[in-house]
């Protein structure tokens, strides 16, 4: 058993059954072992390493297990970087394995040599520059528990070619003794902290909860809803927190940020206490410093202690995962009279589906009509993935993510081109589920090479390309800040997506009416096959959304 064989057997021991990647010179031996174990461990080869990295990310978000992604040295490794950064920003557990040149060549600028460990220091939870068999054993023994413990995130194992090929006889013990280690979870809430937090919540007359990816990842939906109802607090969500609360819940005011509904903006403006549950209060979500300066109090609940007080000092906090923290708060609030909500929204998030009355050019659809048609055709229990751009914010705001649905988006890094790879991963993680990708014409063009992967893997992905002939989010900024000088944000409208898809061996359709769209989605779902559906969509700017 050489290093490569050890890696593959350790992956299997960690209950990994699917990996993503792309072969190359320094990982020859690893792919040789993957070939040997192809019945136990499925490998999906993408068109480009970035696609594989996003697929591992999507797989992890869907399965709750670490995504695994393999690439060769040099360009193979550098192509992963965007994917690693994306996983890091959104706290997604993933193990990236790269080959590197023989250890005797390292530092000599040899062919396809890069210092990938150095390049990814700031975007990994941990990494190993493996140049000896001992270190390979240590890395493989710890990688999975590190990426899953506490606040999740990616790790990188960079292995020299000779370590992959050698070390025979040195790994037997490590393989034998390995047991899936217990995940080291976040600390239990300190009772003093819980008391302080509870007191602030009790004393607040207008509390508001911001629900983030940490709450969603911890499965804290039921506790969050209970707290909201007990304290009479409306709930706003970050992109990462979407789906934690049901869309028809009256206290759920939907997303924050540029595309927030006016109810959400108003509640945020009027509240006197903000309870951030697993939300890191990023600058796209809210100006927390401004809100604090205007006299609002802040409670932070975060699994990562470093998030507490990061942007502004919190008035009270609990350093623990959201589910545990909220349970502790609820236990202390037990018995106190339930407060009536101080803010009521006339419409729930799932009511926001009606397209506004406006005359559209023939063949053009309002986004609400697109979502309505897709939702009706696809039903419940679906996975919704987005790319990045205005279509992403529209999906986040208008598509009702029900309790049985899942929502996957690139929140922190805002990676255009994330969607196709991520939906490949998400669909692979749960093959029986309908997976729908909403993308824009800009994002679609960035990584459409992965259509080849969709075709070769026969993945029944439904890809809705919301075409508006522009990089609309940037265009909106140019409208606001650059005197309507639309520099480089107009996209070529001549691209024929159905023809492009047929070249990839996929069915591409242009839907001109909501009925055509609904039919196209229904057909794809019924026939359990992929479909790329192009819709001309009017995406209004945030101020008119």
């Amino acid at each position: 058993m050489n290093g490569a064989e050890f890696i593959v057997r350790m992956l299997i021991k960690n209950n990994i059954r699917t990996v993503f990647g792309y072969p190359g010179g320094t990982v020859l031996s690893l792919y040789d072992s993957l070939y040997r174990h192809r019945k136990e461990l499925d490998h999906i080869r993408t068109s480009h390493e970035q696609g594989a990295a996003h697929a591992a990310d999507g797989f992890a978000r869907m399965s709750g297990k670490p995504g695994v992604c393999i690439a060769t040295s040099g360009p193979g490794a550098t192509n992963l970087i965007t994917g690693i950064a994306n996983a890091f920003m959104d706290s997604v557990p993933a193990v990236f394995i790269t080959g590197n040149v023989e250890h005797s060549l390292i530092g000599t600028d040899s062919f396809q040599e890069v210092d990938i460990v150095g390049m990814t220091l700031g975007i990994t939870k941990h990494s190993w520059a493996v140049r000896t068999p001992e270190l390979l054993a240590e890395a493989m023994e710890n990688a999975f528990s590190i990426c899953m413990s506490g606040r999740r995130g990616p790790v990188l194992i960079d292995v020299a070619k000779d370590v992959l090929e050698g070390g025979c006889g040195l790994y037997d013990d490590a393989l034998e003794r390995f047991k899936i280690s217990e995940i080291k979870d976040t600390p239990v809430p300190e009772s003093g902290d819980v008391e302080l937090v509870t007191k602030l919540i009790e004393n607040a007359s207008k509390p508001l909860i911001i629900c983030g990816g940490g709450a969603k990842q911890a499965g804290a939906g039921p506790e969050l809803l209970k707290l909201a109802r007990t304290a009479g607090a409306p709930v706003c969500s970050t992109l990462m927190g979407i789906g934690t609360l049901p869309p028809d819940e009256p206290l759920n005011l939907g997303i924050l940020g540029a595309m927030a509904r006016k109810e959400a903006k108003q509640a945020l403006c009027e509240c006197d206490l903000i309870i951030a549950a697993g939300a890191r209060l990023g600058n796209k979500v809210t100006d927390i410093a401004g809100l604090k300066a205007s006299g609002k109090q802040l409670v932070q609940i975060d699994a990562d202690r470093a998030e507490i007080n990061k942007i502004v000092p919190a008035d009270a906090y609990i350093a623990s995962d959201a589910k545990t923290a909220l349970k502790a708060i609820l236990a202390r609030l037990n018995g106190i009279p339930v407060k009536a909500p101080w803010f009521s929204s006339a419409k729930s998030v799932s009511d926001g589906q009606k397209a506004p009355e406006q005359t559209l050019k023939r063949g053009w659809l309002a986004p609400e009509a697109v979502f309505d048609s897709v939702k009706r055709a696809a039903g419940g229990g679906i996975t919704v993935v987005t790319d990045v751009g205005l279509h992403q914010l529209y999906t986040a705001r208008y598509f009702p993510i029900g309790p049985s649905d899942r929502f996957i988006t690139s929140g922190g890094l805002g990676t255009m081109g994330f969607g196709l790879g991520a939906s490949i991963g998400a669909s692979t993680a749960m093959p029986g589920r309908t997976t729908i990708l909403f993308t824009g014409d800009g994002s679609f063009m960035m990584n459409m090479n992965e259509l080849a992967t969709v075709a070769s893997e026969k993945l029944p992905l439904i890809i809705i390309v919301m075409r508006n002939g522009a990089l609309a989010m940037v265009r909106e900024m140019q409208k606001a800040y650059c005197g309507r000088r639309y520099s480089q944000t107009k996209l070529d409208q001549k691209l024929n997506i159905p023809k492009l898809c047929s070249a990839f061996g996929l069915k591409g359709i242009r839907a001109k009416t909501p009925a055509e769209l609904e039919r196209a989605v229904k057909d794809a779902v019924n026939e359990n096959r992929a479909a790329v559906i192009e819709v001309r969509t009017v995406l209004r700017g945030a101020e008119n959304a």
Partner: protein, 169 residues
């Protein structure tokens, strides 16, 4: 305010890069940095002096504490620490200037550790401020080059960083 932070880390390749990368990525300004092994062969100690406010200091503690290679982080008590820095200064010194420079060195309890017909090298141990004062005195003679280790520091008393409340294992 200047704060001295002690960080116990794995004595392994790449660990210093991880710590300094974090400082530069998050925009924390390093005033002084010193690294060395400890009585435990598997551990190194990084002493870093940072100019920051209380909130940034808290951030540094918890961000650094998240690194897998970091075992302990401790902010040393400004009023109850011993800190030292070793400096070597090579000064131009012909026969005429030599005795004057040696007199200056003696006032600072510095030692002459190398001597040539036209230069001498002074070794000084101090807490930083003393080094700057000596340097000011030597400048008129012509400082050829100098090297400083960066500050190393320990808390006064019998406690060890191992007793620190900041545990990140």
């Amino acid at each position: 305010m200047l704060k001295t932070i002690s960080i116990l880390v794995d004595n392994e390749a790449g660990v210093l890069a991880r710590v300094t990368n974090l400082f530069s990525r998050r925009g924390y300004n390093i005033d002084s940095l010193a690294v060395g092994t400890t009585d435990v062969p598997s551990a190194s100690r990084i002493t870093v002096r940072v100019d920051c406010d209380a909130r940034v200091l808290e951030q540094i503690i918890f961000q650094v504490g998240k690194l897998v290679c970091v075992h302990k982080v401790k902010v040393l008590d400004a009023d109850a620490q011993v800190s030292r820095e070793l400096t070597l200064i090579k000064v131009r010194a012909d026969a005429a200037a030599r005795s004057e420079i040696i007199d200056i060195a003696q006032v600072f309890r510095a030692r002459i550790i190398d001597l040539t017909p036209d230069a001498l090298t002074i070794e000084l141990t101090g807490d930083g401020g003393k080094t700057d004062a000596l340097l000011d005195m030597l400048r008129p003679y012509g400082v050829i080059e100098m090297a400083r280790t960066g500050i190393v520091a320990l808390d006064r008393g019998s406690e060890s960083i191992s007793d620190s409340p900041y545990v990140f294992d």
